[in-house]
Subunit: 272 residues, 2 copies
């Protein structure tokens, strides 16, 4: 079993692959479109792609790629992003004067760094910052990255969970070449467009409200080329094959100009 | 007049400030929270903050900061992101073997770079990549950044608009310490939470649909700490002080657990 992800070995996306699928073989890809190509061409059996982060928002690019490719969502996973302060073996925390990482990771630890008077310095990648640190041999510098990146490069974790906001989650979708029928409580992801008339969205949402189908995500996005028209992403609780969901989707098709079911999949189980 | 923005001089955000406000004084800030602090403390008269990109999605962090601070949205601006291939004066395009920039900018030009057999190399910032290139004196390397960054460092633009997808827009909000009453056709931005019961969102949207108030944005976002509850961002056409909008907001307050009006402001005028 080979699972594709975007980034280098040690990236948070690779961590998510192992958490979700166990110790499978991973295929690092430089860009998101190459992740989709790897699955389409059967170079990989599947992939795990990030679609939203609790602080940074939805990643529209991956929704575009879902619409462009004929692949299916078969699962979801939420990764709690826990940034680690990583240094060379033997280095003590009080020796650290500088921290290197991707700008987003540095931004998410800015209060911690200010409190400990550590100067942030931007580099291109979280896992890459550990690699750079190891090569430099510096003892006054730490990298900020995942636990996995520290282990991969034989470096030490001085502190784990240094992010200012502990509610830092990234939601990943597992994608495959074939759709699956989820055995348990399921979620279904759809994308649709509506005629640009007042109240169109209200009618569209009525198909779920009238059938007591819970929505877990709704997002409008201006359509490329026509900034007054919108693409809507909706996730609802239920599987596509269940009669209630089937009727709601048939009903929505009456209003929608375009409607695509991206997949039904078991709902992620938040513990606690 | 001094306007704060996040990034270095030459950043796309600074370009947006000049496009929106004319030739004002700018105040570069390292992080988004420092931009808000600069306005709150009157170090700057206002700020321009990015809230969504047509490819990358909404920037939740800036919505969090809007909720945390007592500032108001007084305007919006859409910046068409046009990436430039930038080199040292006299360098010809066929000499370029490598391009340096922020990973997101490189990702947005990946097809162009493949077609021209230019190898991408990640650095921490778009404007910073031009600075690095100038310092290195390399003639086989280009930077990918804004027109303004090229001008700032006295470098040459080999090609403008090299992004693979021309529909690359970033939406910015202008914020001030005091709310304004928009003179023309307005938009209003609100944030609210609802009781977690089926159909709650449907009821909430009915207050706009019943009054023929058009929505231009809707987005749900899991609330921090309680992943089953949601924060909703809604933009609608109309100003807060107009009777129809006022009635809709009063009606929404009956369902909402929390409701905050972030500001009413003139609607951005897309040309063509």
């Amino acid at each position: 079993m080979k699972i594709a992800f975007q980034g280098e070995h040690g990236a948070y996306s690779e961590q998510a692959v192992f958490d979700y699928s166990g110790e499978v073989e991973t295929l690092p890809c430089q860009a998101f479109d190459l992740v989709f190509d790897a699955v389409t061409s059967a170079q990989a059996d599947g992939a795990l792609i990030p679609v939203e982060n609790s602080l940074a928002g939805s990643i529209h690019q991956n929704y575009d790629l879902l619409l462009k490719h004929n692949l299916f969502i078969v699962g979801e996973h939420y990764l709690r992003v826990r940034h680690c302060l990583i240094a060379a073996p033997g280095v003590k925390k009080h020796e650290i004067k500088k921290a290197i990482s991707h700008p987003q990771a540095l931004g998410q630890c800015i209060e911690y760094l200010r409190k400990h008077q550590i100067k942030p310095e931007q580099v291109y990648d979280t896992a890459g910052s550990v690699k750079l640190l190891k090569e430099s041999g510096a003892r006054d510098t730490a990298a900020i990255a995942s636990r996995r990146a520290a282990e991969l490069y034989g470096m030490e974790i001085l502190e784990e969970g240094i992010e200012d906001n502990p509610e830092n989650y990234t939601r990943f979708l597992a994608i495959r070449r074939e759709a699956q029928t989820p055995p348990d409580e399921a979620k279904t992801s759809i994308v649709f467009t509506l005629k640009n008339v007042p109240g169109a969205l209200f009618k569209a949402l009525s198909v779920f409200a009238f059938r007591d189908l819970d929505l877990t995500k709704i997002e409008s996005r201006p359509l490329q080329g026509t900034p007054w028209d919108y693409l809507f992403y909706v996730d609802f609780v239920g599987a596509e094959h269940e009669p209630r969901a089937q009727k709601a989707l048939d009903h929505l098709a009456e209003y929608a100009e375009m409607l695509r079911v991206l997949g039904s999949y078991p709902r992620f189980n938040f513990k606690g």
